[in-house]
Amino acid sequence: MTRCFLLLAALVWPLTVAADNPYELTPQQVADNTYVFVGALEHFSYDNLGNIVNTGFIVTDDGVVVIDTGPSRLYGEAMREAIAGVTDKPVVQVYITHHHPDHYLGNQAFADVDIGALSGTIEQIRAIGADLTTNMYNLVGGAMRGTESLPPTQEVTAGSRVTVGGHELELIGMQGHTGADLAILDHTTGVLFAGDLAFLNRTPTTPNADVATWVETLHTLSQREFATLVPGHGPVRDDAEAIAQTQTYLSWLWRNLNAAAGHGLDMPEVMMQELPYRWRGLAVIVPEFRRSVSHLYPDIEADVLEPVAGQE
């Protein structure tokens, strides 16, 4: 009897899952043929299903180009369904901007398509993808069911240009948020998909950041001409505000942490400090600032702890 029930459950369960996708994704058109799924300005939680990220797609004459696949398999599947609601054209290419789990764990839903990324991104996903996925199960819960880390299948060349169905896409390889950050500039529409190099109204995250490099990268990116900027997190706008805001925040963060180390503060004191008024409008500023102290302070304080000759 029990065996019989299990067999029945095994048959019925996957169907239930497929029919019961918890994500409600509505594409927002941001330019000709260009759409973004805008995520919540929050941390991962059971309630938001990990949908805290911006993903997007471009409908070209030859098919759809997808940029980032979201935090889970079910999110990726919901993306495909929402894309099918906009166009009959097939998905022909996926690009992953960087190795963070909210940007690529939907890859399973695009396993039939080339998934392109910078070599550094592919290496990171191969190395730590399983750990990232486990952590996401802890933070997001049931919406992660069926999700496994699927590394990108195609290495893209930084600086290369590809033309897909009339859209000329420049694949800009940069660093700073992680060791390999891909920004995609569609020269046909002027839309810049900045990945997590740019945040808007949501505190930037730093678990793999090189802050000084990141600030330089943003300066370089701000020199580029574009009409619309899609940040990795936050609203899409027709100006460079996301770059400016991210750059200003990171510069402040770096100065603040270095000054704290110079005054001999320990990490909890730095974490608990009152934050300047101007940053209080950034979503999740307090927990995200504290995370950044964890990520960045040990290296910064090492510079003020000077070696002392040992004695016996």
């Binding site: 990490m267 004191e269 927990p287 040992g310």
Partner: protein
């Protein structure tokens, strides 16, 4: 709420003074509180939850191997010893601190295994334990992971290396921060035995003890410690580990502010 808790605990303690000492209810509602009392204080200890004992930590451990904590009690006089423990860690005691010429202020990082209360218990000269604490959430695993050093072929050459600095905090006060290179292995990672610093003494160059620290296994690899001394000048640091290795150095006096 904290003050009421404290009052209630004192009343309970007075009421039960003749018989067995009552254990105050745990404001953090830890499942392990009673066993923590037995383990860290003993049956006859007088314990009170006290808001003046503060444990500063982010509510979530971003890095299970290095969870930063600061304990302090600027308004609690006559603290003779401090015990810091985490109820739900596999090894609960993190460290003991004896601030002889120092404030009961201490910052460090530790390895967290799962979400747990982290508490500081401060024993004042009258024998009373004053307890404060906070919950830290964690994905965990910090205690059973091998140290970075355990996988490195060169750590022995740097074992016991000391770095540090001091900052003036008034005419006769200083903040001292130091780091000792040590793997601080818990013994809970397969095949890697317990190996940790057991004693650190801070003293004046003339030999007067300023503070003593007894770290246990959960203190993070290459410990970075901050203390506030009621003293200003060079500090002689000496210590040893459970394998008998000794280390020592003199940290220079802070620059004039």
């Amino acid at each position: 709420m904290g003050y009421v808790t404290r009052l209630a605990a004192v009343v309970l303690w007075l009421a039960g003074a003749s018989a067995a000492v009552a254990i105050p209810d745990d404001p953090l509602e830890s499942p392990q509180w009673d066993s923590m009392v037995a383990k860290h204080f003993g049956e006859d200890a007088e314990i009170v939850f006290d808001d003046r004992v503060r444990v500063l930590a982010a509510g979530y451990a971003e890095d299970a191997m290095e969870t930063p904590v600061m304990v302090e009690a600027p308004d609690l006089p006559d603290v003779e010893s401090v015990v810091v423990f985490a109820d739900l860690n596999p090894i609960t005691k993190i460290l003991e601190y004896y601030p002889e010429r120092a404030a009961p202020t201490l910052a460090f990082r530790f390895k967290i295994q799962q979400a747990t209360p982290v508490r500081a218990a401060m024993r004042t000269a009258d024998g009373m334990w004053h307890v404060g604490g906070t919950w830290i959430e964690a994905a965990g695993g910090g205690c059973t992971a091998p140290s970075v050093a355990a996988g490195s072929p060169i750590w022995e050459s740097r074992l016991g290396e000391i770095s540090g600095n001091a900052w003036a905090r008034g005419p006769d006060r200083e903040r001292l921060r130091f780091r000792v290179v040590h793997p601080m292995d818990t013994g809970l990672a397969a095949g890697i035995p317990v190996f940790h610093i057991t004693d650190v003494t801070l003293a004046t160059p003339e030999g007067e003890t300023l503070a003593r620290l007894k770290p246990f296994e959960p203190v993070s690899e290459n410990p970075v410690i901050s203390v506030d001394l009621r003293y200003r000048g060079p500090v002689a640091l000496s210590g040893r580990d459970n394998n008998g290795n000794r280390f020592a150095a003199t940290l220079p006096a802070p620059d004039s502010p």
